[in-house]
Symmetry: C2
Subunit: 303 residues, 2 copies
Amino acid sequence: MSILVVGSVAFDSVETPFGKEDNILGGSATYFSTSASFFTDVQLVAVVGEDFPQEHVDFLGSRNIDLRGLSRVSGKTFHWKGKYGYDLNEAQTLETHLNVFADFKPRIPEEYSSADYLFLANIDPELQMEVLNQVTTPRIVACDTMNFWISSKRNALEKVLERVDIFIINEGEARQLSGEANLVKAARKILAMGAKTLIIKRGEYGVLMFSGSSIFAAPAYPLEEVFDPTGAGDTFAGGFMGYLANTGDASEKGIRQAIIFGSVMASFNVEDFSLNRLKRLNYKEIEERYRELKSMTHFIGIP
Amino acid sequence: MSILVVGSVAFDSVETPFGKEDNILGGSATYFSTSASFFTDVQLVAVVGEDFPQEHVDFLGSRNIDLRGLSRVSGKTFHWKGKYGYDLNEAQTLETHLNVFADFKPRIPEEYSSADYLFLANIDPELQMEVLNQVTTPRIVACDTMNFWISSKRNALEKVLERVDIFIINEGEARQLSGEANLVKAARKILAMGAKTLIIKRGEYGVLMFSGSSIFAAPAYPLEEVFDPTGAGDTFAGGFMGYLANTGDASEKGIRQAIIFGSVMASFNVEDFSLNRLKRLNYKEIEERYRELKSMTHFIGIP
């Protein structure tokens, strides 16, 4: 089954302790859809400016991503500039130029409106709601958000959460949204807002999933070379949703497997700038790393 | 088989966002031996002052800990005073009064010198070496250290590491000792110093174990109430070594299980000040939490 993603397609300028790249391909919807495309068909809704090169469009097309929802308007493409220190868990935003993204009104093409899987990437929760209103009967809706929306548009965000199945945020956002320092307490408060499943991303420490009374703890794949963490969260979400859509299995068992595939995808993505690593990735490598994570986490139970 | 531990028995004064306690029982050897005593016999070598109350000695005795190596000398007992913020991963040391610990020269009682398992808690590496020289043929030696010794006595520490089987430190110490921000690189450099197995503690994020080319990632048990993290690392080490000594199985499989038992013990310990939670803990609860960690980390492999 196919996934619809609504988010940003952008240029990033990124500096890490290991290098510096300007105006490289980025954006939440870009990372998400490329990652998901390893597992299933993806339909993308986003906006770019006149400066967005055909080369990037061609790349997304080569991943079989349906681009009928990618509109090109006059003006410049969204541009994010950020920097990471040796603690690669947190980016420092240097500049944000919304450009054409400032007036983004996601219009879901008729052909997309019956999507079974929907991912609302990190955009204004009011826009997330507009998308929800245009997609008729999604089977699974997942969404992301960020500190900026939690503080500036909490009410709109809470309304979105009432209609979401899976909420995917990072540790700091979970603490901010709940007002709880303890993650177990934070998770309980957030689940009460609506989503059935909460996935908390903890960067190099992995992921915690809360669902009903169940908790799943997945480590991140331990990497020797982390080059650029940009897009890791969206790449995780893409692998996660992609696998769910591929199997149609949203049971606890299926969600746990999807989390591991998401973690694997994120682990590849951070090995290079932009989507460079995903561009040269194949499915065999994905499966191999999944198996490695399985063996890295295995221990014998007791009777 | 029994374990010999050499470390501190101390008074702690601890402040956390949830409360404040003065002059409570603490010390690395105290936490370690109490935790290990749930699994095996423990022999303790440490020093206390005249102010150390019989009540604490009686408690340790009630855990069947062999106290022939606990010497009482004139002067005051080691006293540590520290504080934690909402980020419970790191303590801020407010005061350290070494007192009788300043002149501590560990003398291993004749009856202890053939110990099979030896844990060198966080003390001056020169003293750790003196202990090593007094224990004839230990099967497994594990040790801990801290930032202070890494910067002030690196050579002595490196000599100790050449004779150690299992090195248990926290994330920050691993980075400091190796000069590498990346933990996988850090682990490789540290393993080259001698220990066959390196266990890196990451507080609420769990543990990474490196051994040869194998990596094991274990999450911490997600707790809703973390009251006081003091002693978590030593309680982990006690559960870990205790289980190893109990089974005699130091294979990769046995070490992984021991890490989970260590994590379980640490998760109980942080639920209350001092050793209060361990004092009212029973083995059934330990096994139950082990099973919970097993189910929290389980996911289906792929063919």
